[in-house]
Symmetry: C2
Subunit: 159 residues, 2 copies
């Protein structure tokens, strides 16, 4: 492994680990269990999974990796708070979308070279990036990994 | 900035961001508010802050950055579940220890070179590290950043 591969590999390993742990928790849950709130009156598990799926789906255009797969989840799970909109699909289908988005993202991530990880993401202009080189693809990966951890900490409370 | 400084800088920026956000939330809370559980019957905020402080305090020896500052928090906040042991100090003092540990850690992190971030941490042997080069200081930093996010997601529920 080259030094650059170790930098990129360490960050990617963390992404896969955090997603894998959440998968282990939600994988065995059925539709009824996914309807549980993480605490009384708080977000339901299905909302968190839908929210994370929509967030990750947006990483395709943000990181220049192609088109989104599931924009139909945005209204219920991204733009609005839980229960403001009826669930557009069943909790199992949300879980299916979550797995689909992550496995396609992971494949795209594995294909990126270390240099490409340090290139700018699409929400920053060339001018801004020249001044702020930390606004790169890697920063988005680390930020989204932490975002999964943030909601995983909540999800686990529904146990 | 060199390429290596961008790799290290991006990960460090995320660490500071995640800690800064939790600081913003717990900073204004008084002793009574820090006694609140994140959900009925769950960990109290002071337990989470104590737990994160003890975890970060252990990063000094783990990353070869010196001695621990607050081992007295371990019994109540690290080794045992919440409420199993009486709080050894007031919630404000736990918060003070949290700030002290993080500011000393951050200073030590800023002094590390990119190469030092990719060196092994102290919980892995030379033999293991030769086979698994991702078990480096950087991996610990990213893992602990996610650990803060995990509990920050819970803490925020006490609002």
């Amino acid at each position: 492994m080259t030094t650059e591969e170790i930098w990129a590999g360490t960050a990617l390993h963390s992404w896969k680990l955090v997603i894998g742990r959440l998968d282990e928790f939600i994988g065995p849950l059925d539709d009824e269990q996914l309807q549980r709130p993480v605490a009384p009156g708080r977000n339901r598990l299905v909302y968190l999974v839908g929210h994370l799926t929509a967030t990750h789906d947006r990483m395709f255009p943000l990181l220049g990796l192609g088109k989104r797969l599931h924009p139909e989840l945005d209204e219920a799970y991204f733009t609005n708070p839980d229960r403001a909109f009826p669930d557009p699909v069943s909790p199992s289908d949300v879980k299916k979308a979550w797995n689909e988005v992550n496995s396609k993202l992971s494949a795209a991530f594995d294909a990126l070279t270390p240099k490409e990880w340090l290139q700018k993401h699409s929400a920053v202009t060339e001018e801004e990036f020249a001044k702020e080189p930390l606004r790169n693809r890697l920063a988005v990966l680390i930020s989204r990994t932490n975002h999964v951890s943030f909601h995983a900490g909540q999800a686990i409370l529904a146990k």
